[in-house]
Symmetry: C3
Subunit: 247 residues, 3 copies
């Protein structure tokens, strides 16, 4: 059972964060809030979303797992006004999620939760390097690299005390270096891994709106991007596997 | 013969209203103004447009029927500035319509009026339900329904004293209810008919700009949308046939 | 050798001016500045660009010819902020042009200058008619003609003391006349030539931003469009061959 209201912007950002990787997900609802964890079809990237009950205007729920068609949610969100308040309602044992905003009432049939991949187990990895920067800076860097390559290296030069991203095309390359003064925070452990820009472009569109992104990095290890929604009452974490560096 | 000037916005809205249904039309010109009535190729929807001579800045005409390529007019309109005054001129017996605005002079060959479908006779139907609302509200409702279906029901719930629109998808549905306070006017006769969103979407783009739309409705009957252009000196009426409700 | 800084807007306009006709060019660098001259693959249009050393914030160079991939430059320019300062640097004998702006550093491999067409010789032609007008007026006229035709006539009616452009479609035509009062300058020698709108559309997008365009015209002769960049410290000239007027 779920009976909640939420401002449409928070709902939109939450759905967008998940939609960057998957078209459907298992949503876990309980008295503390709503969360989901999903892996893309190629098993390369994982998204974890947590919306605390405080992220909602009103919130009442009993534990339940539901299957949500993320693509359909995106269409419906497109109809919402900026200042609308969205009310979500799911009766005990029902398979219909009711969404109401303005004078509109949508009724959406949920997906059978058994047809959706089980929650992935987050790998236990240690990522000693840590960088904090504005989402817009990260998003620009991803776009800049995309101009000349389909891969990007992210890393920390511990000696020079800076965060870098670098991309190599067939004949060209690009490098972006941000030192401690140009970052919001830096734990300067040596790090460097290569990532697919295909994934990063979709994530970048979502992360570009965040005021502050924490990047956790290692050497030839996955990268984690961690950021907040709804003034800290929502949390998103992306995990992206590295690509092998070919010479 | 026609010799007239008109502000480009009024001309643009008039052409757009007709272009939502047909690509060419018969224009009837006489001393009282200009009017046309046209049916789409599938005979599902009809548009009637009347521009009074007062809708023009200057106006002089002798009775004549001309064939107008609406699609071509739309292209030329795209070149006009917002504050341009458009002068229209058609010499006695000529097949060339001259359009002048800014420093531009277009000369457009008219279509042979005999190759264009005769004016349809408007059916005599009684539509007892009547609703008045802002064009933007109607246009939003059409877009919202389009997200989940290709048909929309429009109706009046006389007992509940409200106007509704509803759409059913394969698994989802949407409902919008507007009560007397949320409408500009309501004649609450029971009504409900189903319509194709294909047609309504094109009409909706035009109607979205109107301050006030009157909708006339019956039970499994066509719907009429009536609205003004040019501060009441132009009038548009759309008539749309209902679709059979399949169960 | 080149070591220079330039504001990104001037660089962007310079690259756009060349990109309207070609995807690569030979850039001649020396102590006085940078220039290029290139002809499109069909030998119909030529662009000449000259950027004086004063168009740069700082400038130091020894004579060199380099091969520039204009299409790639356009991609990189897309990443630059409006207020960024771009620094260009090419070491003696190097084949890598370094571009730095914001915190970004791009390294771009130059094209082998021998694979790029030699500089064309500008034809010696006399074009007695001369018109000066705002770039936006010229750009609008090109768009207006494009609605009904793929060719445009540009000319001067010496008797009527006006500049005209005219286009003929299969059934329609358009004419624009600008008299001396509507122009910035006019040398009213009789002129009329026909040009392909395909070329003019691409040039028109660039010229639309110029405050003042000089057009040099003759009878069935090429047309020259001459305009400044960077407050007169950069100069662009387009030369376009006429088309045969078919009757």
């Amino acid at each position: 059972m779920l009976k909640a209201t939420i401002d449409t912007e928070t709902f939109r950002e939450s759905i967008d964060a998940v939609a960057a990787l998957v078209t459907e997900c298992r949503l876990h609802i309980d008295g503390n809030g709503v969360r989901t964890r999903a892996v893309d079809t190629a098993n390369v990237a994982m998204v974890s979303l947590q919306l605390d009950r405080d992220a909602f205007e009103t919130y009442e729920a009993t534990p339940e797992d539901i299957g949500l068609d993320i693509a359909k949610m995106k269409n419906i969100i497109g109809m919402m006004g900026k200042d609308d308040l969205l009310s979500l309602s799911l009766a005990e044992g029902s398979h219909k999620l009711e969404l109401a905003f303005g004078s509109y009432q949508y009724s959406v049939t949920l997906l059978d939760v058994n047809t959706i991949r089980k929650d992935p187990n987050p790998p236990t990895i240690e990522l000693p390097g840590r960088v904090e920067l504005a989402g817009s800076a990260l998003s620009s860097a991803i776009k800049a690299a995309d101009v000349i390559s389909d891969k990007i290296a992210l890393g920390i030069d511990a000696k020079a005390d800076l965060f870098f991203m670098a991309a190599e095309g067939d004949t060209d390359h690009i490098k972006l270096e941000l030192n401690r003064d140009q970052l919001l925070a830096l734990d300067a452990a040596e790090a460097r891994s290569l990532f697919s820009l295909d994934y990063l472009k979709d994530m970048g569109k979502v992360m570009g709106r965040a005021e502050r992104i924490t990047i956790a990095l290692g050497v030839d290890h996955p990268v984690k991007f961690i950021f907040d929604l709804a003034e800290g009452k929502g949390h998103v974490e992306y995990l992206l596997a590295p690509r092998i560096e070919a010479d």
